[in-house]
Amino acid sequence: MANLAISYPPISLRLLAAFRRFIRWLTNPKVFLALIMLLLMFYMVIVPLYRMVETTVTWQRSDIARNPGAVVGKLTTFHYVRMLTGVLGRIYTYTPLRHSMTIAIGSTLLALFIGGSLAWFVVRTNIPGRKLINQLAVIPYIMPSWTLAQAWIVFFKNRLSGGTSGVFEFLVGQSPPNWLSYGPVPIIICSALHYYTFFFLFVSAALMSIDSNLEEAGDLMGASRWRILRKITFPLVMPAILSGVIMTFSKVMGTFGGPNILGTPVRYYVVATMIRGSMGVGDKADAFVLAILLILFAITTISLNQRVVGTRKSYETIGGRGFVAHVSKLGKMKHVIVTAVIVFQIFVIVVPLGLLLYSTVMLRDGNYSLSNLTLQHWIGARNTIYNHGEPGVLRNPKIYATAWNSIRLSLWTAFFTALLGIVLGYAIVKGRGTRLSKLVEQLAFIPYVIPGIAFGAVYIAMFAKKMGPIPALYGTFALLVIVSVAKHLPYSSRSGVSAMMQVGRELEEAAQVAGANVWQRFIRIIFPLTSSGFVSGFLLTFITTMRELSLIILLVTPATQLLASQTMFYTENGDDQMANAVILILIAIVVLGNFIIGRFRGGSLKKGLGM
């Protein structure tokens, strides 16, 4: 038996020992995987951001014609001065920024009101038909965000653009005013009706997780219902509300579809549409200045928000462990209320889809006679009179190729995102408390605050030309996959973390003690136990990628066209019926995908959102 004193070895052996300890640290799976993730995120997030900033502070080729003496690549403040001062600053930057803020704040508040009150009704009252309300609440989120905007145009359009009238004018006999047809009001309403799902899901999960004893305690002490709601319930739900606020705000700030459809006709430009405009005329650096501004704005607002509420947990969702909730009796009103709620929900789903469908069977836009009904836009042959000579969508090889691109992209993105989710979840959860784990978690959060269109812009900066080992990816399908995966990192890390939290560390340790190596532990223990999280992450990513527009609008080329961007190009060409038909196809694919993927291993959208 060894004696109790430790003998200290000479220096060379001590170095060897230190080396061995380092190797052991490095080969620890949580460290090893965290480092790989860091490297990956460095390339997917940090480098592109850096390249974008670099572009804005150096002379670009496109600047030379206007600025004699400029040398490509030399440092300059030109782009910032141009975009931030004088008349150009006002037109290009400040006004669009004000517009972006207006629609972001407006739709966040409206979405909060709709989603929050709906959640309260479902969780905290004896309202019947909760299951139906629950299911219907998720559907607007499944539809592309600009579906409502397109439907709005069909209904409320006036003769301002294109010269044809909408359903409103046909029914009322009078052209709707501009403020109702275009601009901030419809943009806010359409965005809010899309994003209220976030608030609904977050707030109802939070309400469910509140121990109603807390409220009952208040009740027993004689506090009024309203006082309890204000003093006890509300503060407890605050983190969930904040999650929704951050998510919605940063999404709307970077959203392109709605403002492009509803804002552009009346020159109501937001930052997202300005970025696309600048990019379109080749002023990449100018577009990047706007993108950087958008990012800074989003970050500032989000951190201010968190400062004000004084919670740092705000983007964590509260787990839905159910307590017996304190239920308010609605009395005789309950049937009236449930009818109103369900009518409202169906209204925002069925009416827009109906309008879109109706518009696709009108041969000529704005002609509401029965003789104008046709299937030309669906199955019509090539005819130069209609849609710039394109055949109906179902006979159009371009649409099939585009749909296949969309499906392919969504499947690849969903697969990588779900896979990265498990790996990120493992690295973060197992390394809890270490700086490495924290760094991984924070880095994975960055894409969250970068608005979609800006993120797309970042990727142009990164991959327009060859850089180190990375080839010029612009115009390739791979680039679309990479950008989509990168944008989904926050979601994948969140759903991965929540999936991994369900797997107690002892379960892996027991396997470790039993002699299983890392690979065996992953295959036999970790993956089987997180499979429902994997499927849920897959499902969520499939749906969001399928209908993502802002992110990829700057990156698609004719060869990599996607359904989402295709609708936008049709709209911009004035082929609205074609655009609407494509949206309907897109929604059909998403619903089908949701149905099929949801069959596997208890996958669900809610779980995918990390709840």
Partner: protein, 362 residues
């Protein structure tokens, strides 16, 4: 398969917290050693270091003659190669595997022949009296049954060393009593060197051949249950062990063989100790009477707590409270006058400053 475990100067830090602080101990072959202490004392961390689930920041660990961990040599054998079995507090049965799969997981990895695997599963299940449960999933069993399966899973791969991390703390009180007896019997049969972690001093006293009491990462005392109970090395151990708790009374040595406790004095062999001390006496070492006795001090019965086999009486004199244990159901009523007498041989003295034992009882 009896194995010595030697731990030398083991240290483990988490940030600024020293969870295990320079702990050295030797566990003789076949010993049932309990690591005992309040939560956060480092007992579980120490166990996890031995298991290979934590990487210590200093020291060495041997199992038998094999060096399994050395900070200075940079050696650390992976958990799976240390030839030990671990039972977790929450059992850690894999929920997606049947009992059979749970038990054969390690055996398959060790490439043990199929026939042998089947035999071992059968034997191990029999040992924990769970024959015929092969096809069950963990969630289809009660907590106690899951606990037995967790034990059987460990027994099936026949490790040289058993490690157990509070295995009984999730069971209800009655089941815990039964399982103590069974665990002790299992250890007796298997004879494997065992390290057992608990915060329950009764569990430690009833099951162990040796107890190591820890506080804030530091080993306080390593001894047999008997010596831990009767001769605690310091005030922390004295206070932690025993139910009802030991009486600890502040006093000053007052001349030869007498300690002034404020309200009264007591005779005790002081063996040259002077100054401020703490007098310790177990509740059962105090004689209680309802009438004045020579050398006894008058108290009043503040509270009387009978519990069947014995009764606990809290006696008060001013702000001095003393716990006394009497066999059987006590006849004493609340607020009765009672007379307590300390047996000088049963008193231990601790230094007030250091808390260390200076004069031990007979």
């Amino acid at each position: 398969m009896e194995t010595t475990i030697t731990i030398k100067n083991l240290t483990k830090r988490f940030g600024n917290v020293v969870a295990v602080n320079n702990v050295s101990l030797t566990i003789e072959p076949g010993t049932f050693l309990t690591l005992l202490g309040p939560s956060g004392c480092g007992k579980t961390t120490l166990l996890r270091c031995v298991a290979g689930l934590e990487d210590p920041d200093g020291g060495e660990i041997y199992i038998g003659d094999k060096l399994i961990f050395s900070h200075h040599k940079g050696i650390s054998l992976p958990a799976g190669k240390r030839d030990l079995g671990l039972v977790f507090q929450n059992y850690a049965l894999w929920p997606h595997m049947t009992v059979f799969k749970n038990m054969t997981f390690a055996l398959e990895i060790q490439k043990i022949p199929k026939v042998e695997i089947k035999k071992r599963v059968k034997e191990s299940l029999a040992e924990v009296q769970m024959d015929g449960y092969e096809g069950r999933y963990p969630r289809e069993m009660s907590g106690g049954q899951q606990q037995r399966i967790a034990l059987a899973r460990m027994l099936a791969y026949r490790p040289k060393v058993f490690l157990m991390d509070e295995p009984l703390s999730n069971l209800d009180a009655r089941l815990r009593m039964d399982m103590r007896a069974e665990l002790k019997h299992l250890h007796h049969v298997a004879g494997a060197t065992t390290i057992y972690v608990t915060h329950d001093q009764v569990e430690a006293l009833t099951m162990s051949s040796n107890i190591a009491v820890m506080k804030e990462g530091v080993l306080q005392q390593l001894d047999t249950p008997d010596r831990i109970y009767h001769y605690p090395a310091n005030l922390f151990v004295a206070d932690f062990i025993g139910n009802p708790k030991v009486n600890l009374l502040d006093g000053v040595v007052d001349g030869n063989n007498s300690v002034d406790l404020g309200k009264f004095k007591t005779a005790v062999g002081t063996h040259g100790v002077t100054g401020r001390v703490v007098v310790a006496i177990r509740p059962e070492d105090i004689t209680i009477s309802t009438e004045p006795v020579p050398g006894a001090v008058e108290f009043s019965a503040y509270s009387v707590l009978p519990s069947g086999a014995d009764s606990t009486i809290i006696a008060r004199l001013g702000d001095t409270a003393i716990t006394v244990r009497e066999m059987g159901i006590s006849k004493i009523k609340m607020d009765d006058k009672i007379w307590l007498k300390f047996n000088p041989d049963m008193l231990s003295l601790y230094d007030k400053e250091s808390g260390n034992l200076v004069v031990s009882r007979k």
